[in-house]
Structures are given as structure tokens and as C-alpha cells.
Symmetry: C2
Subunit: 551 residues, 2 copies
């Protein structure tokens, strides 16, 4: 591997390289991002999904550090799990490290973590690699992309980005740095593909400010804005619009309160004095002097907004003159939850504004024209789209070809693909272990396909447990089999079916040549007979679980 | 109720009146549509959802018939279940009745059904009510709306509609009839709210024809179009475009084949001779002379498209020069399945075109300008939006107010709401039983909240079954408790946990004052102790099911 570099997307659920990318040379390995994903629909009962870091553990002796591009959970959330296994230095901007610290404290890992705060524009050596951070715009302040100088050439990683010419914090993407890198020569660009399907440009955050300004001005009563707790700049926009229209701002919801506090301490939120108020002061102000900012933009059932929608919140009841603004788009899979929340708010007579019908949210990722601009600023020799599902990467690769990158120089990778580059060549040389690890409660990685398949089966048609008592000495049935079910039929109204089912089990057991001690054989016989019977009777296929009790 | 009429939305899952509306006078009751809905995410294992028809059964003696506005399943699919309980005449256009017949045959109900074929423009008496059908455009030919003359006045029901000036079958919405009804005076308009969130006009089906024409002309290899089996006009568009570019058309997939056959027999599809070919002839034609039309536009795992995407179809393998067109939008909840299918097709090197990136689908429902046009043609005194979720109805009511219907004359109903009208008045006078009945296998309505809650619990963290053998005489424990689990932890790797759990159960039972025959008490004691232990150890809450065996 002398004078070569390998690039390996290591994590993402469906998306490639979204949660973790590795850059490896002969001597050093650095990781960009360590995020988590929320489980897909069929991953029943799973709380979180994190990248499989087997490859990092294997190469632990050359792992020099983890760079975090910005403070969103899909880029930071796996850190507690990774650092617990392998405690390496972490590099990130101040707000990013602030959010990371909040997270590590929850896991009691903050004391031992080696967090290094960097500034956009900083250059530093990590091992023998020379790393440079450049500012990009995204839906959270203090986001960066990364340029890594390797023996084979410079690799540019865009981070999550859009080009916003009027961002909330007035800090622009570092176009000059991108152009400078481009003119010095870039070996490989890794660029965000999330919104490659969108034509044109992503609107500026300014559009949201304009909408919030109008809403705060016109709303006859309270304005309640729901958004992501990590959308720090959106919270600033709410504060700005509320201030302009003489409304006090009430921050409600634990994660929102924690983030706001941290962002104020670090200087990323600047509310004018007296604007932020405690919830217990809510009653002191008339409705048209109130703005509430809270969580629940995804319809999460335990969030403040969902509880208000269900008239289930301790302090806040929805009033007919309230205006509720859902300043986010539903993450795929959350649409139904969000829709239900909106419907419930409407049923209480409130006015509800959401992104489909009002310009109250913009995306944080660049559209096609921005992606082309990135390509033309950086002018890479090779191009590998990242941060997107496979179809997005294919389209981003085509987009790159449309601005002149030869097809043979574009690489659509999968998680685990190893792209090896020298100064003049690039090719996929193999595949390493990469994928997903499920977190369920305290268990990390202990839920595999067997348990998930069982949950899926249980979810579909429930379970029927057959209890058979056999004599320890003779192996004979000592009483009529018993049957208990859950999630299959309503037991109390299905007595006849259950009695018949017991007959079927008894008949299946009634062969004197079978010594019931050969339980494996007898169990599958009971299972087959009962499954067949139940399917004939109900056209349902519950899980059948025979249990023998030896007495 | 003399000289009055009641309008009652009777069915829809979230959507109001989508699947069934009742119109009731003193003497007669007619029903408009009898459709099914697909279950929402949390309705685990449920196959279908149909309207609760308790109210119709209660009023069976005055129920005169069911009018079906068009042949989509969400308007026809509950007919087999309704007719089995109450066999009344069914009225619908020819294609609609063709599709209904296919469905009733599957349920062995076609012979006894009283199907009356009507033409758009027909007027007929149903009981004392005078009913008139008018053509509307939708994504299936032969769709109608209905005008019902009642003693209180005329009620107009739009059906599912859009105003397409260049529909595939060249048959326009009957604007003249709508205008005529409007000038004669309409008491109440019930109008489709599905796409009230969309500004402007819904594009014509012509847009899809143009896109398909271009695709069939330019594609280097086969063109594979996936759409709904009931989208008869889309299938005609595929045939037209294929014919123009000298491609043979292969219809693949059982439901698609059945519908195409029926539609040809009834004259709703007119393929030029020799264009439609059997799948076993596929090998005889070069790829650039082939078009395939099939199901799977929703990513359904057993559909032809999903099986092709997974290299699992018996006859058809995806080739890199194939162009796949997904001519549909994902129904909410199906996005992930569709995305996965698209990704898998891309991974096989094919070109995939879908509605987000190519104009290969248009909606079948009118946008805001069409909804306003409907209101201004019909000029109703009262307005009740239907066919949409609550938020859509609220917005449609506001839209109506924006074109001059007074707020006090617009009614946002819920399923079961009874809107009673006289010639001059309208008000909600009560609520009747209405809602959803779950179909699971052969069971209709036997799955209730208890069973569903059990399935949800099982899905989340699985089940732990505790088997306790007790002496029938003494009520004492006769052996160490046994534990079996599914969907909780991987049993083979959790032996220690399970052994400790048995100890916990044994300890909970080890109270000589408890006679174990008092099973209810002991059972909940075991359950509590074990649940607590397992939560402490794993932070998971499996369902705990204690079972006693008396021996």
C-alpha cells in the first residue's frame, strides 16, 4: 500500500458511507463520522442501528482518530458505542463537540473521551495525514467538510452540505478553500448525494425566516413551532421572528431545553435578554405574545407536540386560536405519525402549517446545481458519491459525468467496498466487513436475524403455546394438552377452536410407538399437525411453540 | 325526517367517507361505494380493513342499493363482505361491474349478486330517490359521480375525480351536467379532497403518454413498466407507446393478466392485433422490440417487479440495458419497499425511471384549481368535503370559503357523523356506529384491540413463556420452572440469563402460604418478578406468559 490510499464506506442503513467513512494509508487510518440510524420498519423492537466497526477493531493499532463533520445524530450517535470499544481522539468544531459532550455524558463516557475542538480553516496532522477543515452550510451551524492530504493525493469529503448564500449565522461555505483545493489538484471527491433527485438549488434558510416572520406577525394567538432539537439555527430563527413581533419564547421538551442551554453557553444561540421564559410563566402572557418552540416534528408519540395533540400534556392545552408550525419534513417511515398529529391538532380547532402547504422548512442538503458546483470547484480526478441510497449514488455519478468526469473515474460504492487509489489510478480492490449492528435496550449486537424473524412472525399472527405434560419415567402423556395463545385469536371467544386444537395435539401424540422423551421429533409432529389445523380453520399461521413438562 | 335527508360517511381508515357514504331519507337508504383499505403499520398481521356496516344492517329494511363510482379497490373491495351480509342491488358502469365481477367470483358470490350496469348520463329511480350518473375523469376509465334528488334537494357526490382535458380514452368529465345541476340548484356537494394540498392543476394523463413515448423510442433495450393492475388507461398508454415504437407488449403478473383480459373483453383496452404476446414468446424478440407491463409499483415483496429486482423471477432476469419505469407513486407506508426495489434494480445495472425523477406518473385526483372549479360549477348551498384525512377536509372547507361558500355552510365531518339537511338547513345531528373492521385470514372482525395490542407487544420484544408444574393435590411446585422465549434474546447465547430467570421464578413461588392453585394471584406475582428482573438485566420488556401445568 505504499503511496496508496484506501477509502471505505463503513456505515449506513441503506445509505452508503452516511454514518462512517474510513480513510486508510499504509501507516494510518482515520475515520470520518460515527453516526447512528433509526431502525427500519421491519427491525421490530430495535432502538438504534450503529455501524459494524469490526474493521476498525482489526486495525486498531493504526487508527489515529475520528473526525466529526457536524453535530447531527446520524454523524455523532454511534460515538458512545465506538469509544467504549476503542478510545481514540475525536476532532470536531465547538458546537459539534458540545453536542457530542451532551451525548457522552448520558453514557458516562465524557470524562475519558479525548475531544479536540477544531475551527473551520484549521489544518492539523493526524498521524502522517494532513487534515484541513473547511466550513460548509447545513441545517446545523459549525458544519465542516474535510480535505485529507495522503501520499496518493488529496481527498475531499464534503460532509453534509448545501450552498446557502444567506445562512442564519451569516457564515458562508468556504468557497475559496474549495476552489483552492481544486486548483491545487484533488485526487478524489466524496460528496453528499442526499438530494441529488432535486433539480435546481435548495432554497436558503432565509425562506424559513420570511415565513416565520409572517406567521408570528399574523397569528391571532400563540405560535407553536415544532422542529428537531438539533436544528439550532431554526431555533434562532424562531427567536428572531418572535422578538420582532414582541413574543416571548418558551422552550419545551427535555432534549430541546438541553440543546438550547448548551448552544447558548457556547455562543451559538443569542436570544435577546428577557425573551426566553420558563414554562411556568406561560400563563402570565396573553396568547399573542407567546411563541413556543418544541420537539415532535416527527410525530414521535412521547414528544411534547404529540402529547399536546392528544390532550395529554401536563402544562399546555391546544387552543383554537393557536397556530402550530411543523418546521421539518417527515423522515421516511414517519409520515403516518406526523399526519395523525396534524389531524389531531386540526380536530382541536388549531391552525396547522406544515411544509407541504407552507414554506416553513427547507432541506439541509444541496440539490443538483449545488452538487455540480461542488464538482466544478473541486475538479477531482476521481469521484465517489456518498451519503445516499444506491439509486442516489447512481444519479450523482451520472450528474458528475454530465459535468465532465469520465464514467470510468466515477465509483458507486457499497458499504464495505474498498476503493484503492494511487496518484493515477483508482479501483475497487475488495470488500471488508461493514454493516449494521442493532441496539435493543442494553444489548448491542445481540439481536440477530433469528430473533428478528421471530418478532416478525409473532407480529403477524401471534403465538400458540402448547403445553404437554409427560411422565419422566414412561415418557407418556399424563394429562390433556393445554393451549395458551397471544396475538392469535381472542381466546375467550374461541373456546371451541382451542378445544379442537387440543384434540389435534392429543391425536398427534397418540402413537404408542413414540416415546415422548424423543422430544425433538414429537415437537415437530405436534407443530406440523397444529399449524395445519389452525391454517385450515383460520387461514392464519401463528407461531406454534410446543413445550414439554416432565413430571 | 319528512322532507329531510341525512348524509353519513361510513367508512375510511383515517380518510372520511372514502370507502362508503350513506344517503338516507325517511323511506330509503342508498350507499355510495363499498371499498376496502390496506392496514396501517401498527395493524399487525391484518390483511384488509373494511367499513363497519352495523348501521346498514340496522336499517336493512330501507337499504335500496349500493352505487359504485369506479372500479378501484378502495371503492369496491368491501362488496364481497357487505353482500354476504346483505345482498342488495349494486349499480355501476360496465368496467366497474367487470372489475366487481372478477372480485365477486374470487369470493364465489358472483352468481347471486344483483349487478346493474349503468351508463354515465343514465337517470334512474332507486326506491323513491332519483339518481343520475355523470362522467368524471380519474385514473381508471368509466368513473362517475352521482347526483341524488332527495325531498330536501339535490346532493352531488363527486366520486374520485380530476378534470383532464386530454384523457387517454378521450372521454371528458361531463362539465355540462355539472353546470346544469348547478343552475338547477344543489343542496349539498360532497367532493373529493385527496389532493387539496396541491396548488394549481393536476397534469393530464397526456403528460405520461409523452414520457412513455420518449422512453419507448430512446431505450436501448427492453422497457419494463410497473403500475397498478387496475390502472387500465395506463396500460393502454403503454400499449400505444409500444406500438408506435414497434415493441411487442408482454403482460406479466396474475392480477394484471386478469384485468387486461377483462378490459379487452369489455372493450376498455384495444391493443392492435399481434401486439400482445405471451411471456413464453419473450425470447423470440430482440430486447429493443419488447415492452413488459407488470405489477409491483408499490414494491410488494411477492410482486413480479420485486422478484425481478431480487433475481428471483422464474422467467425474467433484469439485463443492464433494461429500462424500468415505475409508473405510480408510493402509497404512504410503502416508500421503503419501493426504494429498496429501485436500489436493487439499479444494482443490476438497469436504468430506473420513477415519478420523483421522471414524469412517468400523474395523480388521479384534482388539485386546488379543479376543486374550486367543481365548487363553482355545482354552486352548492352546503358543502361537505369527503375523501381525505381530517386535515385535507379542513383545507378543502377553507378552499370552499375562499370561493364564497359561507363558513357556517361548510361541514367537516368524521366517519359516523350524521349531517341532516332540509331545503334550507343543515346540521350535524348525531353520530352512528362507523369505523373499521379488520380482516385477517378467514376472520372478519374477530381481531380486536386486545389481540392487536398483544401482537404489538410481541413485535417489540418477543415473549417469555414460564412453565410451572404443580401438584394437583397439594398445589406445590413439582419441578424447577422452565422458560422458553421467542423474539426476546437468542436463547443459545443467553443460557445464564435464562437460568437466573428460573431462579427468580422459583423464588417468587417459594412462599409456603401461597397455595399455587390460586393461579391468578401467583401468575401475576411470577409475571411481575420476572418482568422486573428481565428489564433490569436487558432494559427490554418482553411479554411474560406464565403457564401452570397441573399434574
Amino acid at each position: 500500500m505504499k503511496n496508496k490510499v484506501r477509502v471505505i464506506p463503513l456505515g449506513g442503513l441503506g445509505e452508503i458511507g452516511k454514518n462512517m467513512m474510513a480513510i486508510e494509508t499504509e501507516e494510518d487510518l482515520i475515520v470520518i463520522d460515527a453516526g447512528l440510524m433509526f431502525p427500519e420498519e421491519e427491525m421490530l423492537g430495535i432502538d438504534l442501528v450503529i455501524p459494524d466497526v469490526s474493521y476498525l477493531l482489526e486495525k486498531a493499532d493504526k487508527l489515529r482518530g475520528i473526525i466529526i463533520t457536524h453535530g447531527h445524530e446520524d454523524h455523532t450517535g454511534a460515538l458512545p458505542y465506538v469509544l467504549r470499544q476503542i478510545n481514540v481522539p475525536v476532532y470536531g468544531t465547538r458546537l459539534t463537540q458540545g453536542l457530542v459532550t451532551v451525548k457522552l455524558k448520558e453514557h458516562k463516557l465524557a470524562d475519558n473521551a479525548q475531544l479536540n475542538v477544531i475551527q473551520p480553516g484549521d489544518q492539523l496532522a493526524i498521524g502522517s495525514l494532513y487534515v484541513e477543515f473547511f466550513r460548509v452550510n447545513h441545517s446545523i451551524p459549525d458544519s465542516v467538510g474535510v480535505a485529507v492530504r495522503t501520499p496518493a493525493g488529496t481527498i475531499v469529503h464534503s460532509g453534509d452540505f448545501k450552498f446557502d448564500h444567506t445562512p442564519v449565522d451569516n457564515k458562508l461555505t468556504d468557497f475559496a478553500k474549495l476552489a483552492q483545493l481544486g486548483s491545487q489538484g484533488v485526487l478524489l471527491l466524496l460528496s453528499d448525494s442526499t438530494y441529488v433527485e432535486n433539480l435546481g438549488y435548495t432554497p436558503s434558510e432565509q425562506a424559513v425566516s420570511t415565513a416565520l416572520d409572517r406567521i408570528m406577525g399574523e397569528a391571532p394567538g400563540r405560535v407553536i413551532v415544532a422542529t428537531f432539537a438539533s436544528l439550532i439555527s431554526r431555533i434562532q430563527q424562531v427567536i428572531d421572528a418572535a422578538t420582532k413581533h414582541d413574543r416571548k419564547v418558551f422552550v419545551v421538551g427535555r432534549s430541546m431545553v438541553n440543546n438550547v442551554q448548551m448552544a447558548i453557553e457556547l455562543g451559538y444561540l443569542s436570544p435577546p435578554p428577557g425573551i426566553l421564559r420558563r414554562v411556568d410563566e406561560l400563563g402570565k402572557f396573553p396568547p399573542d405574545q407567546v411563541a413556543i418552540v418544541t420537539t415532535g416534528s416527527q410525530g414521535e408519540p412521547t414528544s411534547v407536540l404529540a402529547r399536546m395533540a392528544n390532550r395529554d400534556h401536563r402544562h399546555i392545552r391546544i387552543l383554537p386560536e393557536d397556530t402550530i408550525v411543523i418546521s421539518a419534513t417527515p423522515i421516511p417511515g414517519n409520515e403516518e405519525l406526523v399526519n395523525r398529529t396534524v389531524d389531531n391538532l386540526f380536530k382541536q380547532g388549531a391552525t396547522v402549517l406544515y411544509s407541504r402547504i407552507a414554506g416553513v422548512h427547507v432541506h439541509g442538503h444541496g440539490s443538483q446545481e449545488e452538487l455540480k458546483m461542488m464538482l466544478n470547484l473541486v475538479k477531482p480526478r476521481f469521484f465517489a458519491p456518498i451519503h445516499g441510497e444506491y439509486r442516489h449514488l447512481v444519479q450523482h455519478a451520472k450528474l458528475a459525468q454530465s459535468v465532465g468526469i469520465p464514467a470510468e473515474n466515477t465509483f458507486v460504492l457499497e458499504n464495505g467496498s474498498v476503493l484503492e487509489l494511487s496518484a493515477n489510478t483508482a479501483k475497487v480492490v475488495g470488500k471488508v466487513q461493514a454493516g449494521c449492528v442493532y441496539v435493543d435496550g442494553l444489548g448491542v449486537g445481540d439481536i440477530g436475524q433469528v430473533v428478528l424473524r421471530d418478532r416478525q412472525a409473532l407480529a403477524q399472527e401471534g403465538i400458540v403455546v402448547v403445553i404437554v405434560a409427560v411422565d419422566k419415567q414412561t415418557g407418556k402423556l399424563v394429562s390433556r394438552p393445554d393451549i395458551v395463545s397471544r396475538g392469535f385469536v381472542f381466546m375467550r371467544e374461541s373456546e371451541e377452536l382451542i378445544e379442537q386444537a387440543k384434540d389435534v395435539v392429543a391425536a398427534a401424540l397418540n402413537h404408542k410407538e413414540d416415546h415422548l422423551a424423543e422430544w425433538g421429533f414429537v415437537s415437530s409432529k405436534v407443530k406440523d399437525a397444529l399449524s395445519k389445523f389452525l391454517y385450515e380453520q383460520t387461514k392464519r399461521r401463528p407461531m406454534v411453540l410446543p413445550v414439554a413438562v416432565e413430571v
